[in-house]
């Protein structure tokens, strides 16, 4: 134990002996392998995030406040995490106190008159959605899927996801926050801060939503969020998802008011045009380029495997040779999935007609193979619950997204050939080296609408590898390094494969200051990061967070 014994004893006094551990093996459970998933820095073979000094399980906001106050007293860094998805939730320095928020897991309220829920940190998308559906409501489930904390994405990160065009990203859905600030004081932001209900994050009351989370969130580096209120949306389906079938190929037969299609397009221009038309028309309860994550050449075979409980990856080579599957795969080359939700029978008929009109205008089609009842009902459930999101790991156990084209749909689809094709061809060349899965170059997955109302499309080109294989992991790193260089040369900008370089470095620890300053200072808006520094000085005087908070010294950069 590297923190002072008195500090440990005081922390133990806050949560009780049962809820603190500094056992080395237990602390190793709270480390993240950087030879892995969505780190957006590596991957680095057999490199782990630093071992914490102790892990605590607070059970209340008072517990959290007590912990933070002890940390301030002894100047010990702390790092909270709710569901520990990806490296963001893990320390950047040795001797950090880790807060596992899992005991704070209550849905405190669902207000079905005013359409919002108040949740604690360990409430996940699946449970909130299940409870909301009972009341005719639904929640946006953000990109990492139903396993992840709703609060974390809403307060500390962006919270994009397949339903963002209809339900917003979680940063838009936040209606109030309870924040244990880095100095241990508790602040309720928005109307809740004035003792009112949790209906607005901008007041009446402290209107500090921008400070608390800004665009991208403070990424677990500025205090601890202990409650938040999230906007809910109408759900025209049954009070629970009627799931059938054998695992892992679960399916749901839902009322006709819910329809799921995979749309295909003859060109990327047509693909982009359809996005604009979908947004303009206001249809699309869920819209996402989802199954493309398995790769242009493999996605047809993969959806067959995943929707059939008797199939495994061992069937993939045979299935990709099947002419019927080859046809479907070709139909899905430039695709995305869309779920329509009609609030009335008349509404769904209108939406479907509108979609047909969009397809007529763009020359697109509903992929016939995906209308097979098994695939249809599997896909519908998949897109609504997002309970299979970690299938991005199914091939070898590791994946990360690269390129990360974001912006208007034209950003990725313009150019000759289209930028997405340039990126796909670049990856396809690297696939020939054997270290990453030969998926056909284009494994670009992302939202048709990153924000409420649409207007923004996002893609990351999934790259699958084996984190237990040194050559595969190091080959993937080499590919990502080349991708970054290529993206800059081609004017695409830095890809998401290096998105977190500014915070965590190759050894798993904080990025060296001079590199961090170069990365943050060399970006397009360094003044924002200097402004962050002022926030940090005011709210986090003992600097007990970590480098995920994007702050830049006045004199740096």
């Amino acid at each position: 134990m590297a923190i002072p014994k008195e500090a440990y004893r005081e922390l133990e006094g806050v949560v009780g002996k049962e809820f603190i551990s500094d056992d080395p093996a237990m602390l190793d459970c709270y480390r993240y392998p950087l030879s892995h998933t969505a780190i957006h820095i590596g991957p680095y073979y057999r490199v782990y995030t630093p071992r914490g000094a102790a892990v605590l399980l607070p059970g209340s906001v008072e517990d959290v406040q007590g912990i933070v106050k002890v940390c301030n007293k002894y100047k010990v860094k702390f790092k909270p995490s709710s569901t520990f998805w990806s490296a963001w939730g893990f320390p950047l320095e040795d001797d950090t106190i880790q807060l596992d928020m899992r005991r704070m897991d209550k849905i405190l309220k669902i207000d079905d008159k005013n359409n919002y829920a108040i949740v604690e940190p360990h409430v996940i998308g699946a449970t909130l959605q299940a409870e909301a559906m009972k009341l005719g409501l639904n929640t946006h489930i953000h990109g990492p899927g139903a396993s992840c904390s709703c609060l974390a994405s809403a307060t500390a990160l962006a919270g994009f996801g397949p339903s963002s065009a209809y339900m917003g990203q979680h940063s838009e859905n936040i209606l109030g926050v309870e924040w244990v600030m880095p100095d241990g004081e508790i602040l309720r932001v928005g109307s809740a801060g004035s003792g009112l209900d949790w209906f607005c994050c901008d007041g009446p009351g402290p209107s500090l939503k921008g400070l608390v989370r800004g665009m991208n969130g403070s990424e677990g580096a500025m205090g601890v969020f202990t409650k938040c209120a999230l906007k809910l949306y109408p759900w025209p389906g049954p009070d629970h998802l009627p799931v059938e079938g054998r695992p892992p190929a679960y399916k749901a037969v839902l009322p006709d008011q819910l329809r799921s299609y995979t749309l295909g397009f003859p060109s990327w221009k047509a693909w982009a045009d359809s996005c604009y038309l979908v947004w303009e028309t206001g249809i699309g309860y869920v819209a996402h380029r989802q199954f493309s994550m398995f790769g242009r050449d493999l996605k047809g075979a993969m959806v067959k495997i995943l929707s059939d409980p008797t199939k495994t990856l061992g069937d993939i080579e045979e299935l990709v040779k099947d002419p019927e599957i080859q046809k479907m795969t070709e139909d899905m080359k430039r695709d995305y999935q869309i779920v329509l939700a009609g609030m009335t029978p008349r509404d769904i008929e209108w939406q479907d007609k509108a979609l047909d009109k969009i397809l007529e205008i763009t020359g697109g089609w509903k992929v016939k193979g995906m209308l097979d009842p098994d695939l249809y009902n599997w896909s519908l459930l998949y897109m609504l619950r997002l309970g299979h999101k970690n299938l991005n790991l199914v091939y070898g156990g590791g994946y990360d997204g690269c390129f990360g084209l974001g912006g208007s749909p034209d950003f990725g689809t313009s150019g000759e050939p289209a930028r997405v094709e340039q990126a796909a061809a670049f990856k396809a060349d690297w696939e020939k080296k054997g270290n990453i899965v030969a998926a056909g170059g284009d494994a670009m997955m992302g939202g048709i609408g990153g924000f409420g109302g649409g207007g923004h499309a996002m893609w990351e080109n999934f790259t699958h590898f084996d984190p237990a294989d040194k050559a595969s992991t190091e080959g993937t790193l080499e590919f990502f390094n080349a991708t970054t260089k290529y993206g800059r040369e081609m004017g695409f900008g830095p890809g998401m494969e290096k998105m977190n370089d500014y915070a965590r470095w190759t050894d798993g620890y904080s990025t060296p200051k001079e590199i961090r300053n170069r990365l943050l200072g060399g970006g397009p808006q360094p003044e924002a990061f200097r402004y962050h520094r002022k926030f940090k000085e005011a709210f986090n005087p003992n600097d007990l967070g970590d480098g995920y908070y994007r702050a830049l010294d006045d004199t740096d950069g």
């Binding site: 237990m26 695992p247 892992p248």
Partner: protein, 423 residues
């Protein structure tokens, strides 16, 4: 196979957290969404499959050593296999339950054992049962029962009562009833009485692989000598052991659980019901009959990669993820009993919540075991059922004790109880 063989699994585990929950598609409420009793009770990440992967890797890499906490993490697992089902929703190349078994085996090999387990296993070695009772009284449950005694007499089907039914005086009537039901339906059935011994399955789940192997080899030898072809058992633990573990040692017997046999007899018209049993019941899937009760498929092969880095197996490897467990026969039997109304809990079949009696936890962590059972009783109560019905004496014992401790009134029944009432 050794713990080291699972090192690639440990490095491929992506910390997705699926192992802690039931499959997300199946989540119907906040209250009953959890899948792994171990982390639901203990909360620290270490008490999940993901945590146990990390602990094993930490030990293998020499980053940590045995401690009270490590021992607690490893043994406070009911080996219910919930993690195995949920993990395999997205991961087709991880075997968390197999790894957890190997981790337990390693701790036993290294002498990192719990005193409660040591006492049980010492007795098991001497008396061949898990119940701290003398071997000589194993056949007492069948005293006065008109049934053939194997090997002295020949029978087409051997009824294996198992340790719990043989010695638990409150429950043994169910075993007697099962024999009578089968016999009256025309089955040529026999028992081994005091010559029966423990199947070894619970020793296996506690980490005592050698002890399991000794018991299994003895049983296989005894059955072979007696000319046994078909074995029926009312115990889910025994069913799993015979059908999934014994074939690895070369056993080739037909293994049936009593509910499968009842179901077969009902569908053949050989078991008929004449009385109404007006009762609203809910059915608890025992882990060893449900998700761990899938048929054994022999496989010997190795990992290979296709499309550069897709991990597959040569030849194709069977996937055990609960898809093909014994779920329909017990339900079909219940539905065929006049008057019985079956209402389902939220967590059923492959994603059923464990009773809390497995993996040696009942004997070593009574609070945890009781809490796990109580959680299930709460779920059963939420259906409005007056009885929780199961097909395993270990589940039933744990439920009876939990209900008693909580002062609850719910009845705990075996399917045999209802079949008996309806005849």
């Amino acid at each position: 196979v050794a713990l080291e063989d699972y090192k690639v699994d440990m490095e491929r585990c992506s910390q997705c957290s699926y192992c802690k929950w039931i499959p997300f598609d199946q989540v119907k409420s906040w209250r009953f969404a959890k899948g792994c009793p171990s982390i639901a009770y203990s909360n620290f990440l270490g008490y999940s499959a993901r945590g146990r992967y990390a602990v094993a890797l930490s030990l293998l890499n020499g980053q940590s050593s045995y401690s009270d906490r490590v021992v607690d993490i490893v043994y406070k697992c009911t080996t219910c296999g919930s993690c195995d089902v949920s993990d395999k929703i997205c991961r087709y190349n991880l075997e968390p339950l197999e790894m957890i078994h190997e981790l337990k085996f390693r701790l036993v090999e290294d002498g990192q054992v719990l005193p409660e387990h040591t006492a049980i296993v010492e007795h098991l070695r001497k008396e061949n049962n898990m119940m701290a009772e003398p071997a000589a009284s194993r056949g007492d449950w069948a005293k006065g029962l008109d049934v053939k005694r194997v090997p002295g007499e020949k029978a087409a089907v051997l009824f294996h009562a198992g340790c719990r039914y043989s010695y638990d005086k409150e429950l043994r009537e169910k075993a007697r009833a099962a024999v009578a039901i089968l016999k009256n339906a025309g089955v040529d059935i026999g028992i081994m009485g005091e010559n029966e011994s423990c199947c070894g399955g619970r020793a296996y789940d506690m980490g005592y692989k050698e002890e399991f192997t000794r018991l299994a080899e003895n049983t296989i030898k005894a059955w072979t000598a007696a000319g046994i072809k078909t074995v029926v058992t009312p115990c889910a633990d025994c069913f799993h052991t015979f059908s999934r573990l014994y074939p690895k040692l070369g056993a080739k017997f037909e293994i049936l659980h009593t509910v499968q046999y009842y179901d077969r007899l009902i569908k053949e018209g050989k078991l008929k019901f004449s009385k109404k049993v007006p009762m609203k019941v809910t059915y608890h899937d025992p882990c060893h009959l449900g998700r761990r009760g899938e048929p054994y498929v022999p496989w010997e092969g190795k990992e290979k990669k296709v499309k550069n880095q897709i991990v597959v197996y040569e030849p194709k490897k069977p996937r055990y993820n609960g898809a093909w467990g014994v779920y329909d026969p017990p339900r079909d039997v219940l539905k065929s009993i006049p008057g019985v109304e079956l209402v389902e809990m939220e967590r059923i079949k492959e994603y059923a919540w464990c009773c809390g009696a497995g993996g040696g936890t009942r004997e070593t962590y009574p609070d945890f075991s009781n809490w796990t059972a109580t959680e299930r009783i709460e779920e059963a109560k939420s259906t409005g059922a007056e009885a929780i019905v199961s097909a395993c004496p270990w589940c039933e014992r744990n439920f009876i004790d939990a209900i008693k401790a909580a002062g609850e009134k719910m009845k705990v029944l075996d399917i045999t109880d209802l079949v008996k009432q309806a005849i």
